[in-house]
Symmetry: C2
């Protein structure tokens, strides 16, 4: 129950506010900052790691632990180079780029009207006499490297631009061992790399990122039905973990947007501070990948069961871990004025929150209070990620926990010494309740596992 | 309590047996197999992913959740190239290589006596007239790539050969936010890449691997004490999760083995099928890394607290996820004859086992049995990774679970229909007990969280 002097600040979540909070609280830092940074690369601090691990765990749970029809895989970042020739990525995974001979900048030819001129940022490239653009050239988005030994005898290779191909080339191995017939899926979380020009917008798009991809193999006749199923299912995952339904929408790709392997794709878009943008893509890849790898390798990547024999079709929901994390941060970000003081709070779903409960001794110099607080902390940390904070005014400590999204804070005070009760403070409602210290662990565990529906306005 | 007809087969764990089991049960596959493979690259199947995730989770827990003095970090694989120039890796992270002009093979000049001649495998390279070796050349072990745009204007970059540098260059950001003074640590799990010649031995050494590294920053005077502390602490972690103490030993590096940044290193070695080899390294890196990055970047990577100001020294325990996983597999692998039938069993620590409990309906065609079994399975899977298996003879199903290391199997039979009891079978002792179905979940959870000491002979 929010107190009456709590009111919502109008929706003013900007990317700058998210970047600032993420840095201030150690979620995300610009990578290699002491050497001037490396455009569009970020490192994740303590709370960033915990949040990211939770996002990945919830995805993998939803894909594998809660279902019987999907198994996990973790394939290499560097696959055999033939994989990318056959998949069509060497030929087709390109962007058209133009250079400005004057300002030496490079732009995507198909995004000139979204770019700023390097010489006159108020103009679009090509709109001023200071621009002298080259003809577009196709640029492959895969990072190249070389395996083994010195230049002359090495083998060219690529850093994978998607995890999906590692799934397709393992199809036979996995299907045999998983003892499953279609429909069944293979899920993978891992790093992918795209050598893109003008990436940006914080962790929305980075050269190096983590993907959560699942390839669902189905009988061809059931493909459209499963495509629709996975759009709904994935939409439900985002809202289940707290993203406002009103900030999500589904947009079908136009024919000219489709990837070379897909005939039908829907994006689940989120209302980011930069506008509606892709959060997750659900692509119908047909039999494209299994078919081309079968033809090129001679290994039959198909389903067979005595009489039955066919190449399954593929429906693929794919979402970036970092982009999903950004979505949860943006959607959870809130500012409000409580008792005439401002606070910033991350209303993260408890199952995503980096820290589940904080233990705060009200008077950190009082030995009996510290003793009780440490004992409670030791008990809690065995069950959940807990934090002990004895530094600074209690109000400041609450605000710190609010900013990292800790759903519960337990305060040990003078009264604890008399009756072994503690106050539990709810991050969202700010309600404070006194409960028995002996029941605190069970209280918190119950709260964390109860069905949680977003307390945020839709 | 092992039954009297259970006896240990002599210790005959070979790498081939591990490779075969890993493949047969879908733990590990050779990568890109349909295109002829890619030397020393492996993909992880369902149980491999689960085991690997458990290894990582236990390490991160031990480093961060169970302690107050270590925070987590996840830095980029591609850092600013200056990082690797300054760290000394561009200059010093090399192997001396020789080529054979005759058989076109390449060897490590310092490992010629461990290599086979390409033309005559019974000989060492250079020991037969068929060999014509070049002079050694230094070869850098870092994979190179290029960031951004077309060849002429890109920026050379490297795939990190260790995760540690990402920690050092973030030292200031993390230390400020973590609000900690030395001794404190920063822990990181992530992929690293080493462009090595003649790697091999399954997942013991691969071009692409995952590291678990922790840099512990200490006052210089305490460095030796903390070095010894971390050797013991890490040794204890491996035994805590079931590795036999008798298969572990600590070996101090000789002066000529030390890396360019270290003056004292101890390896925790494990008795692999290939002999005693490094499992984990604990390196004393002194102030080398923070000092060189301070000098090169101008950013003071030091500890300061008003009067106090110094560059902390670093103690680093670093272990490969894949190598740790191999160790757990090898140490857990067992073959025994039970009632005149052989079985292979992975005696994995329950907290590492991919699947915690299997639910097996004895008669899979009997509706009431299936109903009870599914209900129990649905209850269990909410708490732990569970598996439902109704395919094949019950003995075959037990053996399958033994081979993936599932500590408990619950069987639902005719008697369940009468009195709602199930049998619980213990993977290691093979003891079977009847327990109330309503208590099965609590029984399994208790077993999983109880202090577990290895039932294996030391």
């Amino acid at each position: 129950m929010p107190s009456s002097n709590v009111f919502q600040v109008p929706d003013t979540v900007t990317m700058d506010k998210i970047v600032s909070l993420a840095r201030r609280r150690g979620f995300v830092f610009p990578s290699s900052e002491i050497y001037g940074g490396l455009g569009s690369a970020y490192d994740y601090g303590h709370y960033g790691v915990l949040l990211k691990e939770n996002v990945k765990a919830r995805w993998l749970e939803a894909m594998t632990r809660e279902r019987d029809d999907i198994v996990a895989l973790d394939s290499s970042i560097i696959l055999h180079p033939r994989v990318w020739e056959v998949s069509g990525h060497v030929e087709g995974f390109t962007d058209p780029l133009v250079d400005c001979r004057f300002c030496k900048r490079r732009y995507r030819a198909d995004k000139l009207d979204e770019s700023e001129c390097g010489s006159r940022p108020s103009k679009r490239p090509g709109e001023t006499e200071k621009c002298d653009l080259t003809e577009p050239r196709q640029f492959n988005l895969m990072f190249e490297t070389r395996i083994g030994a010195l230049e002359e005898s090495g083998q060219d290779a690529y850093l994978r631009p998607e995890t999906a191909q590692g799934i397709f080339v393992n199809f036979k191995n996995v299907a045999q061992i998983a003892r499953r017939k279609p429909p069944f899926g293979i899920a993978q979380i891992g790093k992918a790399f795209r050598n893109e020009i003008t990436p940006g917008n914080f962790i929305f798009r980075t050269l190096e990122f983590e993907q959560m991809e699942m390839e669902f193999f189905v009988p061809p006749a059931e493909a459209e039905q499963w495509f629709r199923y996975w759009v709904e299912e994935r939409l439900g995952w985002h809202t289940r973990y707290g993203v406002r339904a009103s900030h999500l929408r589904v947009r079908e790709h136009e024919a000219d947007e489709l990837s070379h392997y897909s005939t039908m794709t829907s994006d689940i878009e989120y209302l980011f501070p930069i506008g509606w943008s892709e959060l997750e893509g659900v692509a119908y890849r047909g039999d494209y990948d299994l078919r081309v790898h079968t033809e090129a390798s001679g290994t039959k990547l198909e389903w067979t069961d005595g009489e039955e024999r066919y190449t399954p079709h593929v429906v693929e929901p794919a979402v970036g871990v970092n982009r999903s994390m950004l979505t949860f941060l943006v959607d959870a970000y809130d500012e409000e004025v409580v008792a005439e003081r401002e606070r910033t709070v991350l209303r993260l779903h408890p199952q995503l929150a980096p820290v589940k409960v904080a233990v705060l001794p009200l008077i950190p110099r009082k030995e009996e209070i510290v003793g009780k607080a440490r004992a409670l902390y030791e008990e809690l940390r065995r069950a959940v990620v807990a934090e002990y904070d004895d530094s600074g005014q209690i109000g400041r400590r609450y605000r710190r926990q609010d900013e990292i999204g800790t759903p519960y804070a337990l305060t040990i005070d003078e009264q604890t010494l008399e009756d072994d009760t503690v106050t539990i403070r709810d991050r969202d409602s700010l309600a404070q309740e006194r409960i028995a210290m002996s029941g605190a662990r069970a209280f918190v565990l119950d709260k964390l596992t109860e069905d949680w529906s977003s307390p945020k306005a839709a």
